[in-house]
Symmetry: C3
Subunit: 143 residues, 3 copies
Amino acid sequence: MSWHQKEITLKPRGRGFHLVTDEIIEQITELKNIKTGLMHIHIKHTSASLTINENYDPDVRSDMNKYFDKSVKENEPWYDHNAEGPDDMPAHIKSTIIGTSLTIPITNGRLNLGTWQGIYLCEHRNNAGSRKIVATISGEEKS
Amino acid sequence: MSWHQKEITLKPRGRGFHLVTDEIIEQITELKNIKTGLMHIHIKHTSASLTINENYDPDVRSDMNKYFDKSVKENEPWYDHNAEGPDDMPAHIKSTIIGTSLTIPITNGRLNLGTWQGIYLCEHRNNAGSRKIVATISGEEKS
Amino acid sequence: MSWHQKEITLKPRGRGFHLVTDEIIEQITELKNIKTGLMHIHIKHTSASLTINENYDPDVRSDMNKYFDKSVKENEPWYDHNAEGPDDMPAHIKSTIIGTSLTIPITNGRLNLGTWQGIYLCEHRNNAGSRKIVATISGEEKS
C-alpha cells in the first residue's frame, strides 16, 4: 500500500474545453508502479473545472463550450458578483456544475478509462494563467 | 487494509434514469468484508453517467429525465458533433453535468447511504448496449 | 496507513449556498494527524448537495442560488413528483447536478484547497433540518 501526492501545473489555455490526459499522465510517473488503485486530481481554482468525456472529435469539446456559454450566460442583470468582468460569475457557476475533482481507477499501472474517454480541463476564464492541480495516488504497488 | 477491483456490467436499458443499487451490490461481494472504507465506481462511457438520488418514487426518475431532456435539447442548430444521431451530443453534455463516477462510504460491510438514497444509472442514449463499470473498493477488513 | 470514519451534523440552514468549511473541519479532528491522504464527505440526503467554490464574497453564494433557482424552476406543469411542495422536485434535480459528495486532498494535516476555495453546503429545501454527513479519512499518518 502506498500514497503519493504531488502538485502539477497545466499550461495556460484559452476559454474552452481542452483534452489534457497526456499532460497529466506525463507528470505523474508514480502511476506506472500501481497495480490496483485510484488517482484523485483536484484543481485549486474556482473558475476552472475537470471532467471526463469524449477524447477523439474536437467538435465535442467546442459544442460543450457552446452549450455551457448558452446555459450560463454573461451579463445577467441579476449578477451581483462582477468584480473581475463578465466571465467572472459564469465561471464560478460552471465550476460548480462540472466539479473541481476527478477520481479515476488505476489498473496495472494505467488509468482504467474507457476507450473513448479522456480528461478535460474546462477553462471558464478568457485570460487565465496556468492551473494548479493536486494529484493524489493511492493503491497497491506492483510486486 | 485491502484493495479490490473488478469490472462489472449493467444490463442494457432505455434512455432514462434507472435505479441500479441492487444490481451493483450483488456483483461486488467484497463489500461485505470491509469494516471502514470507500467504494468507487466509474462508468467507462461518455454517453451515460452515475448519480445518487431518491430511491422510492419512480416519478423522481422520470421527472429527472424530462428535466435533462428539456435542459439539454436535441437538434440544436449549432451542434457540430452529430455523427451518431440527435441523442449523441446531448448525451455527452449530460454526462459532463452529472458525472461519470461516484465514491460512496462503506461502514460495517454495507454502503453507508441515506435512507432515501440509491444509485442511478443515467442512460442518455436511445439504444445503448450494456454498460461497463470499474468498481474499486478500499478499506479496513473486518477482523 | 489509517482509516477514520465518522458521522457529523451540519446545523439547519435556509435555502441557499452556505460556506461550511470551518464547521466541517472542527468536527474532523483526525485530519490533523494525516500527512498525505484524502477526505471524502458524503451528504446522506437527496435534497441538499456539496460543492467547492469561492470562499470570500457572499455575492458568489447568492448569485449561485439565483442561477440554480432560475435554471431549475418550481411548479413546472410536467413535474409528477410534488408530494412535499414546490421545492421538492427542484431540490432533487439540483442535487444531481451539483453532487452529493466531495473528495479533497489532505497535505500535512490540512485540506489542500486553493486560497479562494471553500466547501459549500447547498441547501435546496426551504425548511430543512440539520444535515448528516459521513466523513471518511484515509492516508498516511504523520510520524
